[in-house]
Amino acid sequence: MAKEFVAEPDLQFTRDVIAAGGSDVKKCYQCATCSVACPISPDNSPYPRKEMIWAQWGLKDRLVNDPDIWLCHHCNDCSTQCPRGANPGDLMKAVRKMVIEENSWPSFLGGLVGQPSLMVLTLGIPVAVVLFLVYINGGFRAPQPLNYGEFINYLYIQGVYTFALVFAVVSMVLSLKKYWANLEANCPINVGAVRKPFVPSLIEAFKEILPHDKFKECEANNIRYASHLMVFWGMIGLFVTTAIVAFNIDILHIAPPSRGGPGTVPIKILGNVSAIAFVLGLGIMIVRRITQPDQAGNSSYFDWLFLFVIFGTGATGLLTELVRWAGSAPGAYFLYAVHLMFVLALLLYLPFSKFAHIGYRTLAIAWGKSAGRDVTLPVVPNYAPVPAQEGGAEETPQA
């Protein structure tokens, strides 16, 4: 880091970081225990020690353009070993939230989802939309035999949810494009000039993400890896299930599994196994956050909102099915409506809630692959004095 640098401290940023959950950042005295305690931090410019001092100094430009914050999987080894209780893990999390807000398109939604004071509005929007759908379909009725398409016409569902999905994807892509451009232009980490192209880097990132290889290295907190793996694959399974069912209804015009359409059994197995993994994984996360805050880290509104929405999605989905089996049509319709609210919240806020980590982390890992961040430096061998006349051969350590 020989190049000249004029620090432009942004004190408001430091205050924002503290408010966003990095409340102990000022306790840090830069001993770098965290950088070494972290089992997945690269050897060259390891995190999170450097992030801690950037946050203390209000170096916003560096932090918001620092892909390393996404390499952290918040296993909290750094925080438990921190001699000062400065909780670097929480700082990293707080910055991640700010990066999501910073890059959000449209930006006001980023502000909305992150603001505890606007919670009623945040949750009210999907509730209102679904209530409206129920209303224009004739109010709350319980048509028998059970047919969700009679309760709310699938066309409405498709209209609203396709719009929400397209909106989420477009918004996410635009946000990530902005983020990538920022990384390219302003990344504070020195990397070599040789860069791997984007697509191979992204493929490499996927190879790491799908089996959670890096996450697994956070050994001290292995349960975190296991629960996230369950949720991750559960969600993929549910997404595939939903896609197949929608394809069956819309394109092939065959009845959904709830009405015993053909090919029901494999779809049901996939859906139910995925749902159970999904809900179970999330349940573990929630219980750990409540019972073991020292290991799970301080949980902020941002964490809880996302966990509430995603757990609610899975839980109401499962409950709807159970109540339907139990034979209560009104109960099933009611839970179905609630489930729709959760799904809408999940989709709509994907780019602005903590859910956005799905995109940012993937991109940051890809950036790391492209820039060759996976450096492991060799162990420097022992020093042995050489006789003076030979000279020059002896290794000079860095001061």
Binding site: C31, S41, N44, R49, V380, P385
Partner: protein, 421 residues
């Protein structure tokens, strides 16, 4: 002064000795109580002082002479104060005095060599063995043998031990394993408490390899390793194989400034490591020492000591705390891991040996003062300033020079109590 007043000084380290001689030379009677069989405490175990790099024995010797020639000082070794009651000007203290188990009027170590039992040598922090009947160390005061009753009782019926006792008796040294501890009550006017410190238990620093890596030692052990009367006679060699140390690492703040261990700075470890780096450089001019630190703290005039030591280009300073220490299973070299903060790269370096700069833990954090009106801070240092007076590291971490000043101040406080003002 109307009638001679008495000051009880608890702890016979450098602070206690200082308080005792200062009070006695001001005209008081002094009872000096030490738990170990000799005076001198941690200072007796040092190789050199910083910043002058002179041996502590000369200062101790002067003080021992002041004690020896002063009839007003009564020294009890192997003694502990069990209870103190009363108030300034009128205290009663119970002192339990344990037996030495050996009576020796010859001040000779001739019989010691024949002793069939060996025990770990606490004076050298367990780095070597000593006989179960021995002189604590060459300069011990009082210059008397001491026997380890527990170790000898285990073998007391063996023929080897019986013939050893006989040969000792012939040389005028009487071994008496039947000796019992006695408790005496004394009336004193004031109390100075100077029980000092213990090195923080390095086995609690799980990631720093002490106890699991053969060549990881602590800073107090390094003092003994470098001392001419130490376990290696001053050869700075590795515990694993006796190889001369060429590359030595110092791990600063090993358990200090750490909320999981000692949350405070012990204030002397940086200077101690700088000093110990000079031990290595003097012993082995080829060698290099690398000190890994968070912040190097050389307060006051010690700044000049820091300047002097760091002029040596084979004493390397690296900013970054060492987090993990592991061992190469074949060479027994130690591998240190940390982050070099100035270059922003992780450190993984191999060394012959590593010294953990562990901090000072007040003994009062473990064993509270058995007397009235004493208050402590969160770490166990004495904070109360009236009644029983703390002196030296009982009050806060400090270097030897500061201990002398502090103990002198404590002696004055004690004198004020004796006159009731």
């Amino acid at each position: 002064m109307a009638g001679q007043k008495t000051v009880l000084v608890v702890g016979g380290g450098i602070s206690g000795i200082t308080a005792a001689v200062e009070a006695a030379e001001a005209g008081c009677k002094v009872i000096l109580v030490e738990r170990l069989p000799y005076l001198g405490g941690r200072v007796a175990q040092l190789n050199k002082y910083f910043p002058k790099l002179c041996p502590p024995t000369c200062g101790l010797e002067i003080n021992f002479r002041r004690i020896r020639r002063n009839p007003d000082i009564t020294v009890y070794t192997l003694a502990e104060v069990e209870r103190i009651a009363g108030k300034p000007g009128a205290y009663t203290a119970s002192i339990k005095i344990s037996p030495r188990y050996v009576e020796d009027h010859t001040a000779t170590s001739k019989c010691v060599e024949d002793c069939p039992v060996e025990i770990p040598n606490d004076f050298n922090y367990g780095m070597d063995k000593t006989k179960a009947v021995s002189l604590p160390y060459e300069m011990a005061y009082p210059m008397n043998l001491v026997a380890n009753g527990d170790a000898l009782n285990k073998v007391k019926d063996t023929p080897g031990f019986k013939s050893f006792v006989e040969s000792c008796t012939k040389k005028g040294i009487r071994i008496d394993l039947e000796a019992k501890a006695e408790t005496i009550d004394v009336e004193v006017d004031s109390v100075v408490w100077a029980t000092g410190w213990r090195p923080y238990d390095a086995t609690k620093l799980e990631k720093l390899g002490f106890g699991t890596c053969a060549n990881v030692i602590t800073n107090v052990m390094m003092e003994r390793l470098a001392a001419a009367n130490g376990p290696t006679r001053g050869e700075i060699v590795r515990p694993s194989d006796g190889k001369k140390v060429n590359n030595l690492a110092f791990v600063q703040c090993a358990g200090s400034r750490d909320r999981n261990h000692l949350p405070y700075c012990s204030s002397i470890c940086c200077l101690a490591s700088l000093k110990q780096a000079t031990y290595l450089r003097d012993y082995n001019p080829e060698a290099q020492a690398q000190i890994f630190y968070i912040d190097l703290r050389a307060h006051g005039r010690f700044e000049f000591f820091f300047d002097r030591v760091t002029k040596d280009d084979k004493i390397i300073l690296t900013k970054g705390k060492i987090v993990n220490v592991t061992e190469d299973p074949v060479t027994k070299d130690v591998i240190l891991e940390g982050e070099d903060i100035l270059s922003g790269q992780k450190i993984r370096r191999t060394f012959d040996m590593a010294v953990l700069a562990t901090g000072m833990q007040p003994n009062t954090s473990v064993e509270k003062i058995p007397g009235p009106g004493v208050t402590y801070d969160d770490f166990g240092f004495v904070v109360s300033a009236t009644g029983i007076h703390g002196a030296g590291v009982t009050k806060r971490p400090m270097d030897v020079g500061t201990c002398l000043q502090d103990a002198t101040g404590a002696a004055l406080k004690a004198l004020q109590d004796t006159v009731g003002r």
